[in-house]
Symmetry: C2
DNA sequence: CTGAAAGCGCTAACAC
DNA sequence: GTGTTAGCGCTTTCAG
């Protein structure tokens, strides 16, 4: 078993309160005894039991990171940002993969609350307000990631989705494209809606008709598989000459699936159809892929989320006035356009 | 503040010991009072403070996952395996990215110990025995991942690296390759050594001379950048005709970097040089990449690691007799060979 | 079946 | 400058 304060106190022949003080750099403690205690603590390889400390202080220096799927390459970057910033401030982070499953998510949030995490950073599996209000009815501090949840005193860290997608479409139009399709994901999700808005905004700005048959959304799988299936839907519905000349995608994973389907059908990229993704996951820049995409600052996003959360923890939830912190996306032009 | 046992006890007009019993399904508690208490607990949205419980029970149902870099696509899969298996058994997992930095690693391990994690799953930043003995001198249960550490009662979950690489080289030789190079990583690491052994084993088996100039290792970066630089070294050292006709790589990331360098030099894959990776990260199967590779069961590995750890926690460190649990790799033949 | 009380390891008033 | 003590929220003997 681990050494405790008492063990040290016994050896040092002082009360254990003194040991506590010595080890916590309290001003009022004799220099000699302090040194003696510190030496003893080192010798005995004393590790404070932070759980006991937390019980008293009501602070665990622990946060929960609740995300849908660490396997989507967007998240590891974010997680790294969260984690590194957390380490700097002496926090540890619980990783929870909800798998887009609200039941699992509830379970996780409960478990985290019971473990007394100081706060939560999450990309919720559902953005339904009532669901979230119920889920988070534990007066716990939460920062949302990549989801905008318009509840008072919660803040969300997001990329400017609309602007990002608008830039992408602007660029396509400048290159002469007229028939541009939008391949979306979770139809009701904030990020998807915003990106779709950006798409529409650009079209309108350029007096191009918004044609609903060019707007499609993935049903079940929010990764390559989804994009792949979605592209086949396009291929079935349209004659070759009616196919869009460009497709902007909700994210890179979808884009990759779409590209695969196109290749299988000997449709050239970008000559026949140009593709733009969103996220800029690491593999989009591979020489083989070279996907044009709207880049999100993933690492930065994680870092900002963590810092925002800590700020709230230290200064109260209203210390961050913004309900939304918006990061700027960048269009990265590569070989698929 | 959260509701506590006492709050419930007050309302229920019983002692809080009774509440504890009722909520923990103790046999000896009156059915009516039990129901009343459970109802009350629900109404008051009672969440047990597991930290207080842990202080008493000396068990936190928490483990630490210490890995070098969640950003390397090998790890998210493993992490998912760990995490999902953990969830099933009601454990939570702390994610720690060491960034291959032993100092950070020490810091993390200490923090985790202080947070009283029940055990650790780790891919250590260094496999030095003395380093690890010092690091883990806290009688804490540890399962190693993808690193084999020959210390009593510790167990390691690994892929059969030697066999995997051997298969890869066997296959190349069968296809007629004679000049096969090995692109390695951390020269002193277990996994690298084993893979290199597999490479040599196959060559010897087929009476092909082992030529040290065909064995190279990455220096600083264990990802694409490393492979990229390494390939340029090859290109500088050899005339075109002397270049190997195939390269087996320590992992997919290196392979990807090598491929990029080859493309830049207009060397065709697989016609001029065939490439085989190791890991089978998700992007290796992309239609653009189609990397032939030795596939590791990453998700499985995480799951097994977690289960092994729990087994040790429940039944003692010697309950897992194997010092090493070995998973079988599979050669996935795609388009780079 | 239920209550009283000790104690997990630590912090922080409060005395002296 | 140091010791005593209460208490964080919970579990678990021990009595009754």
């Amino acid at each position: 078993m681990g050494t405790t304060l008492k063990d040290i106190a016994k050896k040092a022949e002082v009360s254990y309160a003194t040991v506590s003080r010595a080890l916590n750099n309290h001003p009022d403690v004799n220099k000699n005894t302090k040194e003696k205690i510190i030496k003893l603590a080192n010798d005995m390889n004393y590790q404070p039991n932070t759980i006991a400390r937390s019980l008293k202080s009501k602070k665990t220096n622990t946060i929960g990171l609740v995300i849908p799927d660490i396997t989507n390459p967007f998240y590891p970057q974010v997680a790294r940002g969260v984690e590194e910033a957390a380490a700097v401030s002496n926090y540890n982070v619980f990783l929870c993969n909800t798998n887009w499953n609200p039941e699992r998510e509830k379970h996780y949030v409960k478990a985290l609350i019971q473990k007394q995490v100081d706060g939560l950073i999450m990309t919720p599996s559902s953005e339904n307000i009532n669901y979230l209000k119920e889920l988070l009815d534990f007066n716990i501090e939460v920062v949302f990631l990549s989801s905008y949840i318009p509840i008072n005193n919660y803040t969300s860290i997001v990329t400017d989705n609309t602007r990002g997608m608008e830039k992408a479409v602007d660029y396509l139009i400048k290159k002469g494209h007229k028939k541009i399709a939008y391949a979306g994901s979770h139809i009701e999700r904030y990020a998807n809606k915003e990106r779709l808005n950006g798409y529409k905004k650009s079209l309108m700005k350029h007096n191009i008709n918004i044609d609903n048959k060019y707007i499609k959304s993935v049903k079940n799988f929010y990764d390559q598989r989804g994009g792949y299936k979605l592209m086949y839907e396009f291929l079935q519905e349209f004659k070759k000459t009616e196919l869009p000349s460009a497709i902007v995608c909700y994210n890179d994973l979808l884009a990759l699936g779409i590209i695969q389907a196109l290749k299988e059908n000997n449709i050239r990229i970008p000559e026949d159809i140009a593709i733009i993704g969103f996220d800029d996951i690491s593999f989009s820049s591979l020489s083989e892929v070279q996907l044009t995409t709207v880049s999100q600052s993933k690492y930065e996003m994680g870092k900002v989320a963590l810092k925002t959360l800590l700020n709230k923890l230290e200064n109260g939830s209203r210390s961050t006035k913004e309900n939304k912190i918006v990061l700027s996306p960048k269009l990265k032009i590569r070989k698929t356009t």
